[in-house]
């Protein structure tokens, strides 16, 4: 009689452990896709088979098991390898150009486009009597009523 709740409790903790393992795996997988492998620089820590990537994955896991948050784990790696380990570079003094340039180009390009459009609109003159004559001739040529003047 006494054994049943004990067995049940043991089963429950085992299930909990398995569930939290799966959660940890998912969390680490996500974290590892945000970190760069230093050896093969265009691969994430999750993708890389390099020896160092393996070591770093082991390190990241042990930090996570110790209860460190994602931010703390990233800070741990940044302290050793620099911002380069992060696939998303942080916004700071040396990276403002990197983050700001796309918006700057968008605003600059938009301004240029607007100026060009306005100039073009200003250049379009009202149709004069000469133009009306010329248009009538052009229409006649297009309709085949009048042969084009040899030039």
């Amino acid at each position: 009689m006494l054994l049943i709740p004990v067995a049940f409790a043991a089963g429950a903790t085992k299930m909990d452990a398995r569930a939290s393992d799966a959660a940890l795996d998912a969390r680490l997988k996500k974290l590892e896709t945000e970190l760069r492998c230093l050896v093969c620089q265009n691969q994430t820590l999750a993708d890389s088979n390099a020896d160092l990537a393996e070591d770093l994955r082991r390190e990241v896991r042990s930090l996570a098991v110790q209860g460190k948050t994602d931010t703390e784990i990233k800070a741990y790696l940044v302290a050793r390898y620099g911002d380069f380990v992060l696939y998303n570079p942080p916004l700071k003094g040396t990276t403002w150009l990197l983050w700001g340039a796309p918006f700057g180009l968008l605003v600059g390009g938009g301004a240029l486009w607007w100026i060009v459009l306005r100039r073009r609109a200003a250049r379009e003159l009202p149709v004069s009597a000469d133009d009306a004559d010329a248009q009538a001739r052009a229409r006649a040529i297009l309709d085949g009523a009048e042969p084009p003047a040899a030039s």
Partner: protein
């Protein structure tokens, strides 16, 4: 008006050219270390030739020393090894070796075959101290000053130029 017409695209082109010039001239393998100007990470590891002894960074306080990360499996280490041997012979600076992720037996054999420039080598079997030092491309060389602060880091093999200019000036700066 005409001048503005062609000078704006020209200016943009020149700026682009400047970015490409600087960007393409850089070695993407060389990631600047955040450890420069910071205290050398602590370690306490067994010595390669005297496994009963432990060397820690606090033992080296008050001295200027190089930490050269090497391994018997490291091919480029052979390239810089003659330079390290010369540097050791000149007694200009203490050289300590970090035998990184290596079998100690293989490490000892390698030093017997190629010569041992190190005052002592320490064994980083699982590469954990390597991680603390941000090692990702063996060989690497750190210059540590008397206060135990990292002054310079060389990624990849040393050359005569890098040794004379970068390492040399970092050592001189550290010692006097």
């Amino acid at each position: 008006m005409k001048a503005i017409r062609w000078s704006i695209p020209l200016a943009i082109f020149v700026i682009l050219l400047a970015f490409l010039w600087v960007g393409l001239g850089r070695d993407p393998r060389e990631v600047p270390s955040p450890l420069i100007g910071k205290p050398a990470p602590a370690f306490a590891l067994t010595e390669l030739h005297q496994p009963s002894r432990t060397l820690s960074n606090s033992d080296l306080k008050g001295k200027v020393w190089l930490l050269n990360v090497w391994a018997s499996w490291c091919v480029s280490c052979r390239e810089e090894h003659p330079l390290l041997m010369q540097l050791a012979a000149s007694k200009a600076v203490l050289i300590y070796g970090l035998d990184y992720k290596d079998d100690p037996n293989a490490g000892r054999t390698w030093l017997t075959q190629n010569g041992n420039p190190y005052t002592a080598s320490i064994v980083d079997r699982d590469g954990r101290v390597g991680i603390d030092y941000g090692v990702y491309g063996v060989p690497e060389t750190f210059v540590v000053d008397k206060e135990g602060v990292i002054r310079y880091k060389q990624i990849g093999p040393l050359s005569l130029t890098s040794l004379q200019q970068k390492i040399g000036s970092a050592v001189r700066f550290s010692c006097c």
